[in-house]
Symmetry: C2
Subunit: 230 residues, 2 copies
């Protein structure tokens, strides 16, 4: 009938019908002073594609996103955040209403120890910027909500699979999707490839369009999530 | 006649007819490693508005721009650059064919002393980032081309006029446009206000739309430039 045909345009399956999916995406911005900040090359494209794929599978999607040049996908709710600390606060609050958490954001590992309230003047030939570790969003959310099915991303330039498997165990999470960023690969590109790792298995998703890749990844996640909740 | 009517759509005056105007705009990106970089809140809007205003006055405009989310204005040529060093090289090369140089870019004052070729791993609780001064684009271009009429921008949170006048003298340039960035003011906003300072005078341009402001500024610059070349 007409209604299911119309719905067919945006809902491709019901694998995640009614499942509340929380997704982080994009970069964070760590302020050095009112003008300068530290950030990274994440465009948010992969996270937004994952959000779109999850929504198309019937999920209720909440996207917690750093500043990106992307529109919020149809049917997805979005909260925009600034720093790693800001993203952690919002994500922690939203996790209370989530069934499945997918952390795609490229979160700063370090943030300046002090933020200058005035623009730093350039009087010295050198400048030492002291930075402290940020709080790990993925590990913190999993600690706060041990039963929340949690999927992490890893962007590494070297030893992809070793880091991915070690991150899975160290953070006690359910799945990891690892992509290589060697030579700017993956950042701001239309295509990507992923190694997806979980406790008792792994799958290689070959290089393809990010939206297709996100759909293949969400199929893997939904399958593992549904097995986990049997 | 029809031709002058058509031209009237994009050329509002001939004050800078045939003058070769070189403009820098937007932020720079200083790489820390393949993933992370230091940047600033410049949207490039003011520089692009100045480029558009200069083109509408009959100038031949070359825009050297950091990464921004803006289209290149009609009739303007653009080269996109990454770091402060990259922007300096391109600007220095382009300055050989310029009559008038307007530096609106928000150039990093400091850049990491070493760039890691692998993504920095987060093993330590703290990280010391050592940075060295970048080469001053405005001062370097003026040294290389003492007769090039040169206009600088200053974005300060405090003591606007004092800094502007001191920058004018220190860098031996012809004009300075100073805007306040206190509390994020000016960055990524549609409006702005400027204090314009030159050797024997100054004018306050009150808060208005950035395009209008750019046109008023270009009128001031063109007047000073034409007097200078009499």
């Amino acid at each position: 009938d007409l209604i299911s045909e119309l719905e067919g345009n945006c809902t491709t399956s019901t694998l995640l019908h009614g499942v509340r999916v929380l997704i982080t995406a994009g970069p964070t911005r760590e302020a050095i002073d009112p003008v300068r900040f530290l950030t990274n090359r994440s465009s948010g494209k992969m996270g937004y594609a994952v959000a779109r794929a999850a929504a198309s599978m019937g999920a209720e999607v909440m996207l917690v996103s750093g500043h990106v040049a992307l529109e919020c996908p149809a049917g997805v709710r979005r909260i925009t955040t600034e720093s790693a600390a800001d993203m952690l606060n919002v994500t922690s609050e939203q996790a209370k209403q989530a069934d499945l958490f997918i952390a795609t954001a490229a979160v700063a590992d370090y943030t300046p120890t002090e933020v200058a309230d005035r623009k730093i003047k350039k009087n010295a030939d050198t400048l030492h910027l002291e930075m402290k570790r940020t709080t790990d969003i993925l590990a913190t959310i999993k600690q706060e909500h041990p039963r929340l099915f949690t999927v992490g991303f890893a962007a590494e330039t070297h030893d992809l699979m070793t880091y991915a498997r070690s991150k899975l165990e160290r953070k006690n999470i359910d799945m990891i999707a690892a992509n290589s960023v060697a030579g700017g690969k993956a950042f701001d590109q239309a295509t990507n490839a992923l190694e997806v790792v979980w406790k008792h298995g792994h799958t290689s998703l070959p290089e393809m369009d990010k939206q297709q890749l996100a759909e293949a990844l969400m199929q893997l996640i939904a399958t593992q999530y549904n097995q986990h909740n049997k």
